[in-house]
């Protein structure tokens, strides 16, 4: 595996790239889970109808399915493709590795996706003209296919954080059935059921033609899957326990934003769960459109928090112990420290003429290759802001030993000259981009940087931290 592959790097200006993929991801996951849970709920309703236990079910199913098709089959399908394209924009190497390692898993998921679309459209178009048994068969196939698409994609996504035995064996099934696979699958299944129930409660209130009593009856029935939320704490704890120790550390105080996102997810889920269990299921309260809408919004907040945590706890990797967030291979650091991270970069800077020296151009290329995937130069998570209070010496030291400065950062992967160029770039921008900027090439400084880099080693921060903790204990 090469240490780094050079692609043209996209510049989103002041926006952090993680915001683009995260924002889209949350939206897509929410829609996908709505579709998966919706299929399961509609199967249940059809079954109740056939048993004579819900006379309104048939009509409501047809109404619900129209929304499912209009929302999920259009927005859900296109945002699914958009996830691929956005991943390419943010980290082509990461998605490239994922595709290479799991292309048959993805192809298998695609075959289920085909079944889901065909069964879904047939139900949408011909469902009202089919006898009950055929409707249940079609809904069953639709529901199974949509859940299976979750099954397959869940293995790939959980592999990114907990690749398990794949790291050693490179066996696709060891990677797929990784330690996070089952808890994540169960957790997402429960989330899907809950989202579909809440969406149903919104729809019950919006579809014309039902009386108040009929709406009450439908809310009581559609709210039943929310009982699965009782298992959420247990499954959530299992999922949490499957994460690597340092990742757990980020969300339990180690990283303030990550802790806040987890709190947001847990808090919103708890509020929904409490209302569902005590209000909807126990007290049989009627849920009007406003309340149902609020609960569904809370579910979106919980999804958003959860997805941010899932993306965030992988730091400093995109594929744990294999590929860093900046697409540098874990085992490629040492080589890049000798050859330089920009040595093979064929792409010039876009505004090269605006840089007053070659060293600053080099600094721009180093930033682009190593930092720009998570940081900006003047927007969200700007390196200028983050290093604003550091002295020149501190900048050199902290970047040279980056994984020890902040263990969720990858080790610096470049030569001392490249590090110094990056430090000079930060200083130049911080100074307001003056027209002239003196080059810094003091051999003593470069030697000191080399010493610091060597001292930090090439291991990721969590490994250095674990080693240091072990040393202290000994």
């Amino acid at each position: 595996m090469t240490p780094l592959e050079h692609y043209p790097v996209v510049d989103l200006g002041p926006i952090m790239k993680g915001m683009a993929i995260g924002g889209l991801g949350i939206f897509h996951v929410f829609l996908a889970q709505f579709a998966i849970g919706g299929g399961m709920l509609l199967c249940y309703l059809q079954w109740l109808h056939m048993r004579g236990r819900c006379r309104l079910a048939r009509r409501f199913i047809d109404d619900y399915f129209k929304v499912l098709v209009l929302v999920s089959f259009v927005l859900g399908a296109v945002t699914g493709v958009a996830m691929w394209f956005t991943s390419i924009q943010v980290s082509p190497r990461t998605i490239g590795v994922m595709v290479r390692e799991f292309h048959w898993v993805w192809a298998t998921e695609w075959s289920f996706f085909c079944l889901e679309v065909v069964a879904g459209y047939l139900f949408f178009r011909f469902g009202p003209r089919l006898p009950d048994a055929s409707r249940l068969q079609l809904l069953g196939l639709y529901s199974f296919a949509s859940w299976m698409s979750l099954f397959w994609i869940n293995g790939i996504l959980s592999w990114q954080l907990t690749p398990g035995g794949w790291i050693e064996s490179r066996d696709v099934w060891q990677g797929f059935f990784n330690p996070g696979f089952l808890p994540s699958l169960l957790f997402r299944t429960i989330c899907s059921a809950a989202i579909a129930s809440l969406a149903a409660c919104v729809l019950i209130n919006l579809v014309p033609g039902f009386t108040r009593r009929e709406r009450e009856s439908l809310v009581a029935i559609c709210g039943r899957p929310l009982v699965l939320m009782l298992a959420m704490p247990l499954v959530g704890a299992w999922y949490f326990g499957s994460m690597p120790a340092d990742s757990r550390g980020w969300v339990t105080g180690g990283s303030v934003p990550m802790t806040m996102f987890l709190t947001m997810a847990v808090g919103a889920s708890a509020l929904i769960g409490l209302y569902a269990i005590f209000g909807i299921l126990r007290k049989q309260l009627y849920v009007n459109a406003a309340t149902a809408g609020l609960l569904l919004s809370l579910a979106f907040v919980a999804t958003a928090g959860g997805e941010f945590v899932r993306e965030g706890v992988r730091k400093p990797f995109t594929i744990r112990e294999y590929l860093y967030s900046n697409s540098v291979a874990r085992d490629g650091i040492a080589e890049l420290r000798q050859r330089g991270v920009t040595a093979d970069d064929p792409y010039p800077l876009r505004d090269e003429a605006a840089y007053p020296s070659e060293q600053l151009v080099l600094g721009g290329k180093v930033f682009r290759a190593q930092c720009s995937v998570c940081h900006t130069l003047g927007g969200v998570n700007s390196v200028i802001e983050l290093t604003g209070s550091w002295s020149l010496e501190q900048k050199r030291l902290n970047i040279a030993q980056l994984q020890q400065t902040k263990p969720f950062m990858p080790p610096f992967a470049g030569t001392p000259e490249e590090l110094e160029a990056l430090v000079q770039l930060i200083g130049w921008i911080d100074a307001g981009r003056p027209d002239a900027w003196e080059e810094s090439s003091d051999p003593a400084v470069l030697a000191e940087i080399r010493r610091w880099i060597d001292e930090a080693g090439t291991r990721p921060g969590h490994a250095s931290l674990a080693a240091a903790t072990g040393d202290r204990r000994r």
Binding site: E5, Y7, P8, V9, V10, R59, D62, F65, V74, L75, V78, T79, V81, A82, W84, F85, I88, Q89, P92, I95, G96, V99, R100, E101, H103, W104, V105, W106, A107, T108, W110, S111, F112, C114, L115, V118, A119, Y121, L122, F123, F126, G127, P128, R129, L130, P131, S134, Q137, L138, L141, A145, R170, D171, V172, W173, P346, Y347, P348, R350, E352
Partner: protein, 375 residues
């Protein structure tokens, strides 16, 4: 590249090439229906309310285009997967260079998709004809923009020498001599596909194509079948003309790949397919009848043309890439497990899809009293 496609390549490369071609062909079956169908709708709307009211194809397209778009997107996932195995660096680099401009296809696709649903709605039926024209034209413009973007992206992926300069310029557009001609080839190729598909769809749904039964659907003196024939013939002639314009814009090595051992049999197949289609449609138009045998022959010709075009598309690309480097990556990918699982589930799911369609065809009944139509 001295052997007929896909032979002559290392086994892994040949395997993934066949998968790409096969799945791209499947995608095109639906994508052509959407692209040409949305154009047909837009033109129909411009022709006026009476024209559309009499044209059964317009009604059919309004009804089926959203489903076809869903299928086109779904079928498009597989070639998108295999192109990432075969030409990862090239595909990703082109995506990244076009950046926001390229990503714009996604919101545009969502809007165009919803506009197709809007055309089915009662809401649009209550609006003035200007609305109908605007919605149909905007939906078509959306699909045309996506087609143009894919062409631009594809051509850029073949032009590695242009990447650093384009990146430095910050320009998010890539213009090259062959862009318009290539886009025209593929756009016009969509019309014979649409004609074949509508002909079969009409037969399956019991829509009269010609004769006294179709008299009520005669538009501008043309029966439904003759309108299809005109659509197909215009597409075939236009495609051939666009290909003639595109040919000189191709680099010498690409022309050699097409005319040489790699692509020649496929070029012949495509040309023969065009000839067969032209003859079949001329016969059908002159007799105002499309018997099963003639329809099957036209379909075979269409399939030969489309398969030939898709292979020639790859031949052009293969002439521009570093095959030795890529072959190593393909071999590495082929060594990764999972193929048997895919084959098993693909087979089972294909069987389930067939079962669903047969079951619905057998059991769908007229609307039950009190129930409402889902479509």
């Amino acid at each position: 590249m001295n052997a007929v496609f896909p032979t002559g390549f290392p086994p892994a490369t040949a395997f993934y090439l066949v998968l790409l071609v096969a799945t791209l062909l499947l995608h095109m079956v639906f994508m052509h229906y959407v692209l040409a169908g949305s154009a047909y709708l837009a033109v129909g709307r411009l022709m006026g309310r009476q024209w559309c009211r009499r044209c059964g194809w317009q009604r059919l397209l309004v009804d089926w285009l959203p489903f076809a778009t869903g299928l086109a997107i779904t079928a498009g996932v597989a070639p998108l997967l295999f192109v990432q195995i075969l030409y990862q660096r090239e595909f990703y680099s082109a995506n990244l260079l076009l950046s926001h401009r390229w990503m714009a296809i996604l919101p545009v696709l969502i809007v165009a998709f919803y506009l197709l649903y809007l055309q089915k709605s009662a809401w649009i039926g209550r609006r003035g004809w200007g609305w109908q024209i605007a919605v149909a034209a905007t939906a078509f413009a959306g699909f045309a923009f996506i087609a143009w973007s894919w062409t631009e992206n594809h051509l850029l992926s073949l032009d590695e020498a242009a990447w650093p300069t384009l990146y430095a310029s910050g320009d998010l557009r890539y213009a090259t001599a062959g862009l318009v001609a290539r886009l025209a080839v593929w756009f016009l190729a969509a019309f014979p596909t649409l004609a074949i598909e509508l002909a079969w769809q009409g037969r399956l749904l019991g829509i009269p194509l010609s004769g006294p039964a179709a008299a009520g659907e005669t538009v501008a003196g043309l029966s439904p079948l003759r309108r299809l024939a005109m659509t197909a013939l215009a597409g075939l002639v236009g495609m051939a003309a666009a290909a003639a314009v595109y040919w000189p814009t191709l680099p010498a090595e690409s022309r050699e790949a097409i005319a040489g051992p790699l692509g020649r049999p496929w070029l012949v197949a495509a040309a023969a397919g065009v000839a067969v289609q032209v003859i079949c449609w001329l016969i059908a138009a002159s007799r105002d009848r499309l018997p099963s045998g003639l329809a099957t022959l036209a379909t075979a010709g269409w399939l030969a043309t489309l398969a030939g075009l898709v292979v020639l598309r790859e031949a052009i690309r293969l002439a521009t890439v570093d095959l030795d480097t890529l072959a190593e990556l393909h071999a590495e990918a082929a060594g990764i497990g999972g193929l048997p699982v895919f084959l098993i589930f693909a087979g089972l799911n294909a069987a389930a899809i067939v079962w669903c369609i047969r079951m619905v065809a057998r059991r769908a009944v007229t609307p039950e009293p009190g129930s409402r139509s889902g479509s």
